[in-house]
């Protein structure tokens, strides 16, 4: 009688501990570990595992996957076809001496096996070795039915939590992307406003001038005056053309994909000098190109040409008119991973105040040459598309040094 009472107390004690070990965490792994570890330890079982339906993990296979086991070294067979496991109600038990639910697992040999159903969610697999006195049967496992049902409910809770967590995380991610996109759009909007204002102003100024010059031509009787007006007319039209060309370049830079083509870098730089030889002020300026490394590299030729054209063009435009020893030196260091250009001159230099803003759209550091204020903006845009960097060091009256580094694919 006392033994019977003791056994009932033992069973109640173990069931009490087991029932409190379920639902200890919303985390699926911790929930399984808490229940299975307590079950294996308290009932003196050698091995316990939780197999879960593959569909829970978005795996398109008709099988159960081993999600947790104690001990964990039995990992040889980590899946069992659903067809091999009898369909039972939650908490129902199958006991057997051989493994009738899948392949043998490493370390599990002859002994007593049992599977407790978790419905469509999966099942719990238990093993007691031949040397263990515990042999599974309905009598000693039936008391577990209720607590396994409770474990099943807690698993549903963990799975729902995990799904919700994943949805929240996905939503947060989308919100964060949307916020970033919104910020980007706001920035673009501001840029667009500035662009429309500056572009309309810069387009209208030469147009107003052209209109005035046409009026002058219409009213003038002097052939000489008309000829001067026509020259001015040409100059304004050229300015308009240059401006429209720059705007097309900006659009092109942002929309056209980066090309990867083999370029002779020395030829590219000398070609730029050659194209600029008729530029106003390009007289008596010493040009020097130094190359270390290979002449060939792979990059976007058109974009590099725009960059070098702008930088070398500026060096020519802003050379010191009072100096008889003006020079522009281009040093190219072509290495396998990156190419570096150093463009150095002894021109009039840039006031440090302007250096920070010099890459802004429509920013003009000087009125000496009335450009569009877009050249260095285009330069920076193209360098950024090539994933490169540009830095400028300059001193008034001493000259300017521009360093460009472009990574090579």
């Amino acid at each position: 009688m006392i033994d019977k009472e003791t056994n009932i107390i033992n069973e109640l004690a173990v069931l009490y501990e087991l029932s409190l070990s379920t639902g200890t965490s919303l985390d699926l792994g911790q929930n399984c570990a808490s229940f299975i570890d307590t079950l294996v330890n308290k009932k003196n079982i050698d091995y316990g595992a939780v197999y879960l339906n593959a569909s829970i993990f978005n795996v398109e296979a008709e099988e159960y996957l081993k999600f947790y086991s104690i001990p964990q070294n039995n990992l040889d067979a980590d899946s069992i076809p659903i067809s091999k496991v009898p369909s039972l109600n939650i908490g129902e038990i199958i006991c057997c001496n051989e493994i009738d639910c899948g392949e043998a697992e490493k370390g599990l040999g002859r002994g007593s096996y049992a599977a407790i159903s978790l419905g469509e969610t999966g099942f719990i697999k238990l093993y007691s070795s031949e040397t263990n006195d515990l042999k599974f049967n309905e009598t000693n496992l039936n008391p577990l039915t209720g607590v396994v049902r409770k474990f099943h409910t807690s698993l549903q809770g963990s799975l729902a939590h995990s799904l919700l967590e994943s949805e929240i995380s996905h939503r947060k991610d989308s919100e964060s992307k949307l916020r970033a996109r919104n910020e980007e759009l706001k920035k673009l909007n501001v840029q667009l406003d500035r662009f429309v204002y500056s572009a309309s102003h810069d387009l209208r100024a030469p147009l107003a001038s052209i209109l005035g010059l046409i009026n002058l031509i219409e009213r003038s009787d002097s052939k000489e005056d008309r000829s001067i007006s026509i020259e001015l007319l040409k100059s304004n039209i050229m300015k308009l053309d240059g401006f429209i060309h720059d705007i097309i370049e900006i659009t092109r830079s942002s929309r056209v994909e980066v090309k990867h083509e083999t370029i002779d870098v020395y030829e590219l730089v000398s070609g730029v000098f050659n194209n600029l030889k008729f530029l106003k002020g390009n007289k008596n300026i010493q040009e020097c190109i130094e190359l270390s490394g290979d002449r060939q590299l792979v990059s976007d030729k058109h974009r590099l040409e725009i960059v070098l054209n702008n930088i070398i063009g500026n060096a020519l435009k802003y050379s010191n008119p009072d100096s008889s020893e003006s020079y522009i030196q281009v040093v190219i260091d072509n290495q396998p991973n990156a190419v570096a250009f150093k463009i150095k001159d002894n021109g009039i230099g840039i006031d440090p105040f302007h250096v920070e803003k010099i890459f802004d759209m429509f920013y003009r550091a000087t009125d000496i040459n009335a450009g569009s204020g877009l050249g260095l903006y285009i330069t920076k845009e193209n360098i950024e598309r090539l994933k490169g960097t540009i830095t400028i060091r300059s001193e008034i009256g001493e000259g300017t040094e521009v360093n460009i580094k472009i990574p090579l694919s």
């Binding site: 009490y16 070990s21 330890n41 001990p71 070795s129």
Partner: protein, 365 residues
């Protein structure tokens, strides 16, 4: 073999006197009050290329004698010993090549996380694991470096030695349920704060007073508590005893070994003869009946608090172990240590950290 000399050269000569093979490794059980200079011993053994491992314990047993200041040695065959540090930390590495599933393990008995360490061990080694060992440390219950191998002396650590030979393990304690069950409704590792949703100490004292008319007044907590340990329910095996050793500043009961929250506990008691007989049963269970002729030696891990409880009768316990071996014709001397917690795994199920228990490991060729 027990040595109670402190001269390093003489001691090492004693060790070498019964060395078996070239690849033998030296198992050392060092008593807490031994005057041996560990550093000097380490240097000497390293200079001689002798691999060794072991622990420092309140008492050791060898050559039919319990010693508080000697050292017991035994040559064993197996893998190179591995020290695992930072047992109380969440992330210690159990990087052990699985040479065999038979292990001797000594661990700092006062560190926390022993259960997690054993669980990790079971996860790595699987269901065949057999293990004998115990908690090292001082009887003063003050933490100190107590685990060693050729690399030095460590606290909050374990040393693992995998045997080349066979191992059979017997585990018994002999304590019987006296009062309960109680639910440990609030615990923190090895500290019981609440029993049955009430202050643990109050509930514990009340249960002992009602059932045994025993009061805690006028004696230290341990003097009374050593007769009434707790035990956690486990089906198909003896309950797992937890030794209440002291009361902390907050009035909570401090035990040796973890008590998981919501564990169902009973208060235990025992007559001395039951405990003594349990030792006989543990020794008998460690005997491989078909391999008696291949028996090399037996390692007895006996809880120091059993010795404190049994007092003079403790020698009866050792005699009963001897009798168990004699009954099967085993005459070899056995060695052992009185520990702060015992470790055992019999080849099926979880390895456990016990209290007030005898674990006997029989080692066979």
């Amino acid at each position: 073999m027990l040595s109670e000399i402190h001269n390093i050269d003489a001691l090492v000569n004693n060790f070498l006197s019964n060395k078996k093979g070239e690849s033998s490794i030296l198992l050392l059980l060092l008593a807490e009050k031994s005057a041996i200079d560990f550093e000097a011993l380490k240097i000497q053994l390293n200079a001689m290329d002798i691999l060794f491992f072991g622990g420092i314990f309140p008492c050791v047993y060898g050559s039919s004698k319990v010693s508080e200041n000697g050292v017991v040695h035994q040559w064993v065959e197996g893998s190179r010993p591995t020290i695992i540090e930072n047992i109380s930390g969440q992330r210690f590495s159990l990087d052990i090549k699985q040479f065999s599933s038979n292990a001797i393990v000594f661990i700092d008995g006062l560190t926390s996380g022993i259960d997690r360490f054993l669980s990790k061990f079971y996860n790595s080694f699987g269901t065949d694991l057999k293990m004998v060992g115990g908690g090292a440390g001082s009887i003063s219950l003050e933490s100190m470096p107590c685990i060693f191998d050729n690399t030095g002396l460590y606290a909050d650590a374990a040393v693992v030695f995998l045997l080349k030979d066979g191992l059979e393990v017997g585990i018994r304690h002999g304590w019987k349920r006296a009062a309960g069950p109680f639910v440990a409704t609030k615990t923190d590792k090895n500290v019981i704060q609440e029993l049955n949703w009430r202050p643990a100490l109050e509930t514990y004292k009340e249960a002992i007073s009602i059932n045994y008319q025993t009061s805690f007044d006028g004696a230290s907590f341990f003097d009374t508590a050593k007769k009434f340990p707790f035990a956690m329910v486990k089906e198909g095996a003896e309950d797992i005893v937890r030794d209440p050793i002291t009361v902390d500043e907050a009035g909570h009961i401090v035990c040796v070994g973890t008590i998981p929250e919501n564990s169902v506990l009973n208060i235990m008691t025992a007559e001395k003869k039951q405990l003594v007989y349990a030792a006989y049963e543990a020794a008998s269970a460690s005997i491989m009946h078909n391999k008696v002729a291949q028996h090399q030696f037996s390692l007895i891990i006996d809880c120091i608090s059993r010795k404190l409880f049994l007092e003079d009768d403790f020698f009866e316990e050792l005699k009963m172990i001897d009798k168990a071996f004699e009954a099967f014709g085993i005459e070899e001397d056995f060695i052992g240590a009185m520990t702060l917690g015992e470790i055992g795994a019999v080849g099926s199920g979880f390895p456990q950290f016990f209290n007030k228990t005898v674990v006997v490991g029989g080692i066979y060729d």
